[in-house]
Structures are given as C-alpha cells and as structure tokens.
Amino acid sequence: MPQGIPPGVPCSCLHSCKYDDLSASLPAKPQLQTLIPPMRLLAIFFNLFEPLFKFAQRVLGHSRIGWMFVGPNLLVIAVFTFLPIVINVAYALTGGVNLMPAQRPYAGMENFSILLECRDYLDLQTCRKDVFWRALFNTVRFSAIQVVLMVLFSLVTALVLNRKIIGRGFWRGVFFYPVLLSPVVVALIWKWLLQTQGVFNAVLVSAGTGPVEWLTDAQWAFFWTIFVSIWAHMGFYTLILLAGLQAIPKDMYEAAELDAASPWRVLYRITLPLLVPNLIVVLVLALIRAVQIFDEVFVLTGGGPGSATTFIVQFIYQTGFAEQIHLYGLAAAASLLLAAGLVILTLLQLRLTRAEQSGQRAR
C-alpha cells in the first residue's frame, strides 16, 4: 500500500471513486483521534462542510463541481478586475464632476472627442487638450528611447556579470540593489543630487563652472527621467537575461571553442539566438513598464518643466484626482486609450512569442 493512505481505504478509490464513496470508506473516528489537537479541530471544521459538498455534487454533478471551487476566485476577479473596467467605461461615457455614476449625465463619446480634437494634428498647439497629446508624445518618445537603452544596457551588464570576473556576486548585488528601492526613494535621491543646489552642481561650481539646470531645462529633465528609470530598473531585466545566459548549455560554447570561433561569432551565433526568448520577455516587460511610467518621474520632476516630462499616466492622475475640479470622465477616457495601447503591445508580445516558438519548431 502506498505511504500515507489510511488503512481501510482501497487504493483504487483514491483516484477514481466519487467523493461519496471515498468518505464512506474513510473511518472518521479513528482518523480524527490520530491527529494532533489543532489538526483535529481543523478536520472537524472541514467536516462541517461535508453535507454542503455532498449536496452540491448531487445538484451540479461530478463534472461541474469544479466550478464551485473556482467560483470564489472568479468572483474576486470579476469584482476587482472586470467591474472596475466596466465602471471606467461608464465614467468615460459620462460628464460633470460628480463622483457617483448615477449623478453623472450621459455624454456619449464627448470625452473622447475632447481628448482627440485637433485642428491640425501636426501642431499640438491646435489640440483642445494639447497636454494630453504632449503626454502621449512624451510617452512614445520616452518608451522608444528608454526601452532600447534598457535592453541594451541590461544585455551588456548580464554578459559581463556572466563572465568569471572578480567579485561577481558583489557586482550582481550592486546592479540589482536599486530594484529593491521604492521608486519614490529613488526619485528623491536623484532629486537631491540634481536640484540646482544639489550635489552635482556643487561639484560643478567648485570646479569653477556654473550650475546646470538639470531639472528645470526641458531636455536635461527628459534625459534624467530616462537615466533614472534605467538606473532603477535595469537590475531586474539584467537578472532575467542572466538566468537566460546561464540556461544556455555549456557544451555549445565548448564546441565553438573547439571550432576556434571568435567571441563575436559566439555572441551572434550562439548567445543571442538562444537568448531570444528572454530578450522578448525583457522587451515586452520594459515596454509595458515604460508606457506606465509615473511614480519616479512624478517625484523627480513633477511632470515639468512645463509639460516636458508629463507622461500619459500623470495626465490621467492630474485630470481625475490632483486638480481640484475633478474631471473623472476625461481621465477615464484617457485611461481607456492607454489600455488600448497596452492591448496592442500585449498582442505584439503574443505574436512575437508565437513567431519565436514556430521558428524553434522549424529549427
């Protein structure tokens, strides 16, 4: 008899018997007595539900009883994930400043048309909500630059950290450490370094040059938002790539060494092709994270100077919550547009993954 099966229970019952049969074959009293007191209490507690399960099985049948177990989880997901989406759509289709949906007048697609209304789409200034477009443009620009640099730096760092260098564990820790910090802490640290009377300018002034407007000049502020976000999150992506590198079979490299392949050839022919699945994960995660950028930039620059570092999530937050006249409908409409963008990115990820999988099968 396999270990752990109570005496008196036929082996076949454990896999194929109905619940009724199993419970009927279990000698309840002797089993409870063998349990330690807390477990015994627990067993008594669960036994209370036995009639309910028996009833449910009788009503639902054996094949549908599973729904009863996943039901509570589905309910939680429905209430906390799908219901907010429905409510968000309701807000996007209504106007006014009232919070309760019942008090909000129906506005149809007005919020979307306010957001998207432009006399000339090549001139943001002609748009009714030009800050929305600026935020959108900033987000696209930020994502394009930041994601490319993030993947590149993460890859280079992972390749270096995968080699047998002195203090490898220490360096891995150094690169991963910023990931452990809260984005707000990261932003505050860099703000203290970059503000007009911060550390960087103190060094510049003591070196005899004037202070630089790191955070009040639009170009510099944009540069620093990219830099800080890469600094803060690169460790995470490096870790994913490092795991991918370590999963590459060593014999591939040994074979390449026997063939006297150059390091570049090894990189292009072995490492990068075998790292593609991890690179896709990193690319997609970094892209989604870049589109959602908010917290550290909000603390670092407040979206300024002007709207130079205002991204789409900050626009939504400001429109819906930070301004004293709360335009929930407009914010909800903008968030749905953002969601549409994220759906496109997710579909792209699925397509890339499928293409990669079919490529692997073909190989």
Partner: protein, 425 residues
C-alpha cells in the same frame, strides 16, 4: 446537574457587558485637520476642554497633510464618506457637502454678528442664508522681504506704495550685490497670482459675472513670464513642476536664495520658527500695479459636513470653538489673523510671537483694508479654481518656452471654460 441557571447567568453577564459600554458610549466627532503651524494641536487642546464639559461627546482630531484636504477629502465626500468636520480652503467648491448648522445652533446670531462678512464664502449660492461653519482664520497673500540682504547690498527698501516694478528693480540690485540665485519668487499658485493680476487691472469677472481673461490679466501673465525670462524670478518654483501642482516659495526664502517672496500670512509661524536669528525678515504691503495694491483674502474654515451622523454635536463643538475666548486662544497661539469681527476690533495678543512675527501680523492685518473688491469676489466664487489651476499650468508652459504668452492666455481661457462647463453639469 441543572445547567440552566449558570447559562442564564452567563447570558445576563454578557448582556450587561454589552450594555454598559453602550450606555456610556460617547458620540464620536471626527475632525479632519491640516496645519501650517500648530493649528491642529491647538484645536485638540480646545477639544479636550469641550469634552470635559460634554462627557457624552468625544472629539477626534485627525491631522492630515494639506494634500489630503485638497485631493482626498472631495473624493470621500462625493462618495458619501468623510469626517464630521473638516478644515478646508476650497470654501465655495465644497459647499454642496456642507451641513447647515442653523437648526442646531444655540446662538446663531453670535456667528452672524462676528463672522458675517465671511459666512457667504461657505454658502452654495448668494440667496442661501445657512450657517455652514466659520473661518478658522483670515489669511492674506503678501510678500516677505529679507531685510538683511537689503542691508548687505546697501539698497533701500521700497516704500509702502511701491509698485511691483520698483520691487523687482530693488531686489534685482540686491540679488546682484549679494549673489543670490534670483531676485524674487512667487508661490506656484493661481491664488497668489490673482493679487498682482488684480493690481495690474484684471477684473476677473465680466459683466455677466463669469470668469474672464481680460487685458489686466494678460498684462500680469506677460510681465510674470518676462520676469522669469530675464532672470528676476527664480525659475525653479514655477518652472520646476508640471501641471498645476502647488509649490511654495518659502523654502527658497528661508535659504536666502531670493530677497523677496510672494506668499501669505499663514507662513508667519513657520518663518518665525525656522529662520530664528539667521536673518531679519519683514512682511511688506502688497506692491501696487496701475489699478490696485492688493493681495487676495482667504483662509481656512471649519465646516460641518453632511456626512456627519451627529450634526447637533458637531454644531455644539463648532459653537464652542467659535466662542470668543476659545477663538482668541486659537488665533493667538497659531499667530493668525482673526476672522472674528469682535476680536479683530479688540485686538489679539500674540505672546509667543517674536517682534518680527508681530510686525508681520500687523502688516497683514493692516492690509485687509486695502484689498480690492474683486479680490473678495474672487475668493468667494465657487469655481475660482477653474481660473487658478490653468493659470499655473499654462503660465509655466510659457515660462519654460513650450508655448508663447498669447497661446498660454488662450489656453487658460479654454481650460477655464471647459472646467466651469463640466462643474456646472
């Protein structure tokens, strides 16, 4: 064994245990309070005395950041949640959530007589005569000057009726001589901006009583942007943020990075505490423009909220707070300007105030008389934020060169119209 009796005894004991606290349970009143200085601490002390006199009422003062009052309280109230009392600054904007205390007040005439000029600020409409709370203090926007820097630069301080241009010129000289980072700074706030705007001739309201961006407002925006471009204004305060986020300039003043700031009377306690003997500072009357020499009145108000389940006790506590002796204690300890007419007439003693703080209180109190009528009207207007917020966001865009001044003005008007339209739906 007969177990009926012990069971009965147990049930009786449980019933008594449950009943005793129920009988002695006090009514809780939650007060959402923010503070610039020690306002919530003083309120708590007064609340303890109120509790001693009214053992059936317990007052819980929750001290929260100002940001919570601005961002979270309106959402809570809209959702039908919230405290019983709050200390608010968006006086008209939140008026639909206020509870009229009149039926619960012992002496409504006392509040009418002493807070009559500011009670309309809390009313949802001009026709309404309800009493929804009272001003915890009056505030007035106005400038502070670093006198030590002026002395070091050997530049005479402009007089009481000096214009903004004269102050800019003087602080520019001071900045140059003392190598401060910039001459002056203004709080990043549409409320603060409105004072100079009215001084430059902004009417704020058109003939129909709607908000308008007129030539006076245009002049003020143009000059303000120009002062940033020529380096007179510290760029970090307005240019350092996006959107309409509030940022004060007091930090820059305390660190002597500028010779002058435009802020308000509520900062006196903070300046006294933080600057100490580091340098001499003074409050000066609001500089003049061609139309006026005005700041903007304002302040915070204690308001009774509809979300309260104990409106009678709320009214009792607020009446207690408004009593002349308690109000005088609050004003005196927090070093604020009284909104209580009787007290203002008698004068308030500020025993803990330094000579500089006392002088500053005198300057602000004296300045109340020179406030322009438009300043009062603007402060009491329900949708004043619709003008204040776009002013900050759009003027900043012009300051950093994203858009021109004309574009900024056109965008302020557009955003303002959109916000008012949405708020009126």
């Amino acid at each position: 064994m007969n177990t009926a009796f012990p069971q009965t005894k147990t049930l009786l004991a449980l019933a008594l245990a449950a009943g005793i606290p129920a009988m002695s349970m006090a009514t809780d009143i939650r007060v959402m309070c923010y503070q610039d200085g020690i306002e919530c601490e003083v309120t708590s002390a007064i609340a303890r005395r109120f509790e001693a006199q009214n053992p059936d009422v317990k007052v819980i003062v929750d001290t929260v950041p100002y940001k919570s009052i601005v961002e979270q309280l309106p959402v809570q109230l809209a959702a039908g949640q919230g405290p019983d009392i709050a200390r608010v600054t968006d006086l008209g904007g939140l008026s639909k959530y206020y509870q009229d205390m009149t039926p619960y007040l012992k002496d409504a005439k006392y509040l009418e007589a002493n807070f009559g000029s500011t009670l309309p600020w809390l009313r949802p409409s001009a026709a309404d005569k309800g009493i929804y709370g009272f001003m915890s203090q009056l505030t007035m926007t106005g400038p502070y000057v670093n006198r030590t820097l002026f002395e070091q630069a050997k530049v005479p301080m402009p007089g009481a009726k000096a214009t903004w241009e004269e102050w800019i010129e003087a602080t520019r000289k001071v900045g140059k001589a003392t190598q401060t980072q910039a001459a002056l700074a203004w709080d990043r706030s549409g409320h603060r901006f409105a004072g100079p705007a009215i001084s430059y001739g902004a009417k704020i309201f058109d003939a129909k009583g709607d908000l308008t961006i007129d030539d006076g407002y245009k002049t003020a925006v143009t000059k303000f942007v120009g002062w940033h471009k020529d380096g007179a204004m510290l760029k970090e305060v307005w240019g350092g943020s996006g959107g309409s986020t509030y940022a004060d300039s007091i930090g820059e003043f305390k660190n002597a990075r500028v010779a002058m700031v435009l802020s308000g009377s509520w900062q006196i306690n903070r300046l006294q505490k933080d600057i100490g003997n580091a340098f001499d500072w003074v409050a000066v009357p609001n500089p003049c423009g061609p139309a006026a020499c005005t700041g903007i009145p304002g302040g915070a108000a204690w308001v009774s909220l509809k979300t309260s389940k104990a409106p009678a006790q709320v009214a009792m506590f607020l009446e207690f707070m408004a009593r002349e002796d308690n109000y005088a204690e609050f004003i005196s300890k927090t070093e604020n300007i009284p909104a209580h007419a009787g007290l203002a007439k008698k004068g308030v003693a500020y025993p803990t105030a330094t000579p500089a703080a006392r002088a500053a209180l005198g300057v602000f109190s004296g300045g109340v008389a020179s406030l322009a009528p438009a300043a009062y009207q603007f402060q009491g207007y329900k949708y004043n934020r619709a003008m204040m917020l776009p002013t900050v966001a759009r003027t900043t865009q012009a300051i950093v060169g994203e858009i021109s001044v004309d574009e900024a003005l056109s965008k302020i008007a557009g955003d303002m119209a959109d916000a008012v339209k949405q708020a009126q739906k």
